[in-house]
């Protein structure tokens, strides 16, 4: 995220108390399961009596969400918007496939049609910010060109050049253009070409996309997700989900006699990444994808809406037995020793955005030591170990204390 930005006048319900309180209210639950303590502690209630015996009368409310496995995109799709909202708001699971984070495509379409969107979605705010930055860059390059021309002219005439003010990120302010804080999409441009005039009802085509790791975490540990098979539309049991998720990483349409080279392998990318995902999730971090910062995962303390991610995770698989790596049919990323330039690049990218790089080493058990039969159930995950190494750049000249 760039530190440079035009200073904006404080809006009454901006990132002040009201906005924060609203976020705290909406995103109050860290997980999809709700723990309801029955109220009414004044009178003798079964809850209090149970409490005397050391038993808790807390009731667990399970939303029982449903999703469909899509092997082609290696994800689980949640098409029911109510389930999608629950999973996003309680734990920030998943991502709208047509949006930055929360599924907001439908809202954006409706906003574009009305062109009177009072509440800008995050994508619209991003567009506005990008346009302002573009304008700033144009102004700056114009000023630079002017300054250069002025210097040329001054040199030719043999006099001192008069200084031209070159806008810097901190001092430039966006000129108030036509229209105030409305989205800059005109009604005609927002609507698809086929109906420029009539309002065709917008159909919701967006879904919430969960990675296989997020989906497995929800269904195995919290039991709040049911995954349907994409072909038969039937709910899958744990055993079939476990083998289906692993099979997603096998090449599609492989002959049955060849598929044994892919089964019974501890270095299936699903297992390696799930080990890291489970590790950080169970420690309480919100784990999201990190492709935008050249890393595997980003760790948020409470969630993306509260603060930027503090940590960037790179998953580095380590084979306990090097022979396994030689016979591996999977081409695991970052399994071989990395180069200094690679590490340096990733560290630079992340320091620019004030994130700390963490190298997460996941040890893949040896097939010689652990029987591959254990892979038929999720208990195999106990054989993986996760260690992390935190990386910070040390500059001797500047970091004297």
């Amino acid at each position: 995220m760039s530190l440079i930005g035009p200073s904006q006048p404080r809006k009454p319900s901006g990132k002040g108390g009201a906005h924060r309180a609203e976020n705290n209210r909406i995103y109050a639950n860290p997980l999809p399961l709700l723990f309801i303590t029955p109220g009414n502690t004044r009178y003798i209630s079964p809850h209090r009596v149970l409490g005397l015996f050391g038993l808790s009368g807390v009731r667990i409310e399970n939303p029982h969400c449903e999703g469909v496995l899509d092997p082609a995109t290696r994800s689980v799709w949640i098409t029911n918007s109510k389930d999608a909202m629950i999973l996003w708001r309680r734990g920030f699971f998943g991502k709208g496939d047509l949006s930055r984070s929360e599924p907001s495509w439908y809202t954006r379409q409706v906003n574009a049609r009305k062109a009177a969107g009072k509440y800008l979605t995050s994508e619209e705010i991003r567009e506005k910010r990008r346009k302002e930055r573009q304008q700033f860059k144009l102004d700056r390059s114009k000023a630079l060109a002017e300054a250069a021309a002025e210097k040329e002219a001054a040199f030719a005439e043999g006099r001192e050049a008069s200084t031209v003010a070159i806008p810097s990120g901190a001092t430039w302010k966006p000129q108030p253009a036509e229209g105030l804080s409305l989205p800059s999409v005109h009604p005609e441009q927002g609507i698809p070409e086929e109906d420029p005039i009539e309002e065709d009802p917008v159909e919701e085509v967006e879904h919430l996309q969960l990675t296989l790791q997020e989906a497995f975490f929800l269904l195995w540990n919290l039991d709040c997700l049911t995954v349907l098979d994409s072909v038969t539309d039937e709910a899958m049991g744990l055993k079939s989900i476990w083998s289906a998720f692993k099979r997603v990483y096998h090449p599609p349409g492989i002959a049955p006699n060849l598929s044994s080279t892919y089964d019974g392998r501890f270095d299936n990318p699903f297992l390696v990444h799930y080990a890291a995902y489970h590790y950080y999730r169970s420690l309480g971090w919100v784990v999201k994808g990190g492709i935008k910062f050249c890393v595997d995962y980003l760790l948020y303390k409470r969630g993306p809406v509260f603060a930027h991610a503090e940590f960037a995770i790179v998953v580095l698989p380590v084979y306990e037995d090097p022979e396994d790596q030689k016979t591996s049919p999977f081409d695991l990323n970052n399994a071989s020793p990395f180069s200094w330039t690679w590490l340096s690049t990733i560290n630079r990218v992340n320091s620019q955005v004030q994130k700390t790089l963490i190298l997460t080493y996941v040890t893949i058990p040896a097939r010689s030591r652990v029987n591959p039969e254990v892979l038929s159930s999720p208990a195999a995950l106990s054989h993986y170990s996760v260690r992390e190494v935190v990386l910070r750049r040390f500059i001797p000249a500047r970091m004297r204390d």
Partner: protein, 118 residues
């Protein structure tokens, strides 16, 4: 995936290249619905074993080419030269890198050195 409305437009290319079907579908959906590109066309690029997408950004005249790929793939320069050649040598091609969580990162690739616009 078959249930998605965009599947019909991609049906002539998707079954041919099952490995890249997911990234093509995600990229096509993003361009059509989220980025609102116009005049979208799906091209078959056999040398890269995948389909590519051709279209225009809203309110512009230039036709742009987008080649999808997934984060798990390893690509190299010769693959890319081939892609350039087969798409008719456009001035630049966008590479759409798809992640499992449906994030797409677009990279603009041009042959040779190109000075930035501003």
């Amino acid at each position: 995936m078959e249930a998605h409305p965009s599947h019909a437009e991609l049906s002539h290319v998707l079954p041919k290249y099952p490995k890249t079907a997911g990234s093509l579908l995600q990229t096509y959906n993003d361009l059509k619905l989220a980025q609102q590109w116009e005049a979208l066309e799906v091209l078959d690029v056999p040398s890269c074993a995948r389909g590519a997408v051709k279209g225009r950004r809203p309110n512009t005249e230039d036709t742009l080419f987008v080649v999808p790929c997934s984060l798990a793939e390893s690509l190299n320069i010769s693959w890319f030269h081939q892609a350039f050649h087969d798409l008719g040598k456009p001035p630049h091609v966008y590479l759409a890198i798809n992640a499992d969580d449906s994030n797409i990162v677009y990279y603009k690739l041009s042959p040779g050195i190109v000075k930035p616009a501003v």
